[in-house]
């Protein structure tokens, strides 16, 4: 493979199942050493793409190379250079953690001694050494995923596929998995990650590719994508309607943008210009402090991030999910200011205000 050449290349991938077209001319290039997040609703084709690239699925058209090898003609070469972690922890429940890793190590032809040594290294590294002798069925969800990840890393793969790696995990388990992925990336592993969670892509990916109905509909860095979508918003409700204008000026000072006011519900909404999550949270703290200093009583204040539904509404003009409703005005991906407030959210705000 050429130095710093792309780790993953897909050109015009097509895949049809009996009824549906899962991929329709899917292109993807992932540079070596980067993390690419595939984001999309259920049925967008994310898993299909990952399964094709990891040599698990035959496809109908196009071509793909992983780590410089063709996924069809040189599948065995590809398999030596990839790790795959799917939506389930694909490990044996009855075997112990160590026995699992040893079995997979033998199947990578490391030999009995080599497999044992590698298993010990990985158990240590993923903080599983203490429970290595227990059956996996006694492991927590996070531990299982870490073991699963360890099994994917036996060959120190150049490319790691993570298909919704944190689905079904509690917050602690998610953080454990994120930390493990980050440390791998620091060592130069290329990662292709699929997720339904915007924040997960945000935390892990250098670049996000948004898929819908088997095609790429948007791509870019998380920051760029979020600014396309509209970024975070600060929503607040104040106690005294007479203070609305004054409060709006305070908020404008903090957020650096003109807020929108709703006198009937004493509500104020302002876009938060900062990009990264930590900075947006700082804005919230600053707003609370500034309003407090100005002597304005706040009934409710919250930072609201765009949800995946909103991302799709904005990018595709139709809501996420298999339901095919036409979106309002068929909005273009990059058109205009962001006004679409989800109805549910507004209603909720009204009940708090009343």
């Amino acid at each position: 493979m050429a130095p710093n050449g792309p780790a993953i290349v897909a050109e015009g991938l097509r895949k049809e199942y009996r009824q549906t077209r899962a991929l329709e001319g899917f292109d993807l290039t992932v540079p070596e050493g980067s993390v690419c997040g595939l984001l999309g609703p259920n049925g967008a084709g994310k898993t299909t793409a990952v399964r094709i690239l990891s040599t698990l699925l035959e496809f109908d058209g196009g071509r793909a190379e992983v780590a410089g090898f063709d996924v069809v003609r040189q599948a065995a070469q590809v398999r030596y250079r990839i790790g795959v972690t799917g939506q389930h922890a694909a490990v044996d429940e009855i075997l112990t953690g160590r026995q699992n890793l040893e079995m997979f190590g033998r199947l990578y032809h490391l030999g009995a001694a080599g497999a044992r040594r590698r298993a010990d290294e990985l158990l240590e590294r993923f903080g599983l050494a203490g429970t290595a002798g227990k059956s996996v069925k006694h492991y927590s969800g996070g531990m299982r995923r870490r073991l699963d990840l360890a099994a994917s890393l036996i060959m120190a793969p150049q490319v790691l596929f993570l298909d919704e790696p944190t689905t079904g995990l509690d917050p602690r388990g998610r953080i454990e998995v994120w930390e493990a992925v980050r440390s791998l990336v620091a060592e130069g592993t290329t990662v292709l990650l699929t997720t339904q969670y915007l924040d997960e892509a945000d935390r892990l990916a250098d670049r996000i590719v948004v898929l819908d109905k088997g095609r790429m509909i948007a791509e870019g860095s998380p920051d760029r994508l979020k600014s396309t979508i509209g970024g975070d918003q600060l929503d607040l409700v104040i106690t005294d309607a007479a203070e609305l204008d004054r409060a709006a000026r305070v908020v404008a000072g903090v957020c650096g943008a003109e807020p929108e006011t709703r006198p009937d519900t004493r509500g104020i909404t302002a876009p938060v210009r900062h990009r990264a999550a930590t900075l947006a949270a700082t804005t919230l703290v600053e707003a609370v402090r500034a309003l407090d200093e100005a002597g304005i009583a706040v009934e409710d204040i919250a930072l609201r991030r765009p949800t995946l539904d909103e991302v799709f509404l904005r990018l595709t003009g139709h809501p996420a999910g298999p339901g095919e409703e036409a979106g309002p005005g068929g909005g273009r991906p990059d058109s205009g200011k962001r006004r679409a407030e989800p109805a549910g959210h507004r209603a909720e705000e009204e009940t708090t205000a009343v």
Binding site: E32, Y80, A90, H109, L110, E187
Partner: protein, 287 residues
């Protein structure tokens, strides 16, 4: 960072990795080693969870008691003879066929949990998963059969043939089991989840009853008797009755007259059909 091989070298395992087998001999050695690794997985299962094995062995033991003593008194052996002498070969055959359930459940659960996909995404021999599974199941079947024969001897069943004939009968039983392992692997790969696999399993019970295992086909309504006579299980059971020298031989139909031939031909035909189907299904695994 230069190339990814350099950057991951610190954690990469030592030399033997990433070598593809060159030549047919290396390929075979690979396949054998990988299959054994997979078989070993199931052997570890039995060591770690002996209760699983014990429950599996309970089934044939209970069958001997249930059919031998509860139903046995009401059964008539065609041509005369002791019912338990007639019954045991039927139970041997039925147990071999019922092993399909374990195979199917195991295969479906692996596929459902993504373990099959992990194997498929690894550079191991493509045949190893199914071959390893069938090897483990065969070892399990031998244990089943040993227990069942011991139970039989306790309740008064005897093999009256020569040692060679007795061994040939055991061989025929294992051949039947081997054939149905491939049916199990294929159905297991096809089933969407363990529940579907369970439904297949429920169909199996009547299929084993429509045979000569418990009742002579001549005593059934004509069409059912014909179906029972042509059940692969019937051929094996009739053949081993002959080899063991147990009562219940008979029937004038061609299939009944050629039990020995068919006890070999049926399993081979089943393997010839389901082995390639299973391997193909495993390679493609369209789920």
């Amino acid at each position: 960072m230069t190339t990814s091989t350099a950057s991951t070298a610190s954690t990469a395992p030592a030399a033997p990795g990433r070598v593809l087998p060159s030549g047919p001999l290396a390929r075979v050695r690979w396949a054998v080693a990988d299959s054994w690794t997979v078989t070993r997985r199931y052997l570890i299962h039995w060591v770690r969870e002996p209760s699983y094995v014990v429950w599996g062995l309970m089934y044939p033991m209970v069958s001997v008691l249930l059919f031998g003593y509860v139903f046995g008194s009401a059964m008539v052996v065609p041509g005369g003879g002791d019912y338990r002498e007639f019954l045991l070969p039927g139970l041997f055959g039925m147990t071999m066929m019922f092993g399909i359930g374990n195979t199917m459940m195991g295969v479906t659960t692996d596929a459902d949990k993504g373990i099959t996909d992990r194997f498929r995404a690894m550079p191991m021999a493509r045949s190893a998963v199914v071959v390893g599974r069938s090897t483990a199941d065969m070892i399990n079947s031998v244990m089943d059969l040993v227990i069942l024969i011991l139970c039989g001897l306790i309740v008064g069943w005897r093999a009256h043939g020569t040692a060679g004939e007795t061994l040939a009968a055991v061989g025929l039983l294992l051949l039947l089991r081997f054939a149905f392992i491939w049916v199990g692997i294929y159905l297991g790969l096809r089933a969407k989840n363990a529940e579907t696999a369970g439904n297949f399993y429920a169909l199996l019970f009547p299929l084993t009853m429509i045979s000569n295992a418990f009742v002579a086909p001549e005593m059934m309504p004509g069409w059912l008797g014909a179906a029972a006579a042509w059940n692969p299980l019937s051929s094996t059971v009739a053949a081993i009755r002959e080899l063991f020298g147990n009562p219940g031989l008979g029937g004038d139909s061609w299939i009944a007259q050629n039990a020995l031939l068919m006890a070999v031909a049926w399993p081979l035909a089943i393997v010839a059909l389901f082995l390639p189907l299973s391997v193909r299904r495993y390679r493609r695994a369209r789920r």
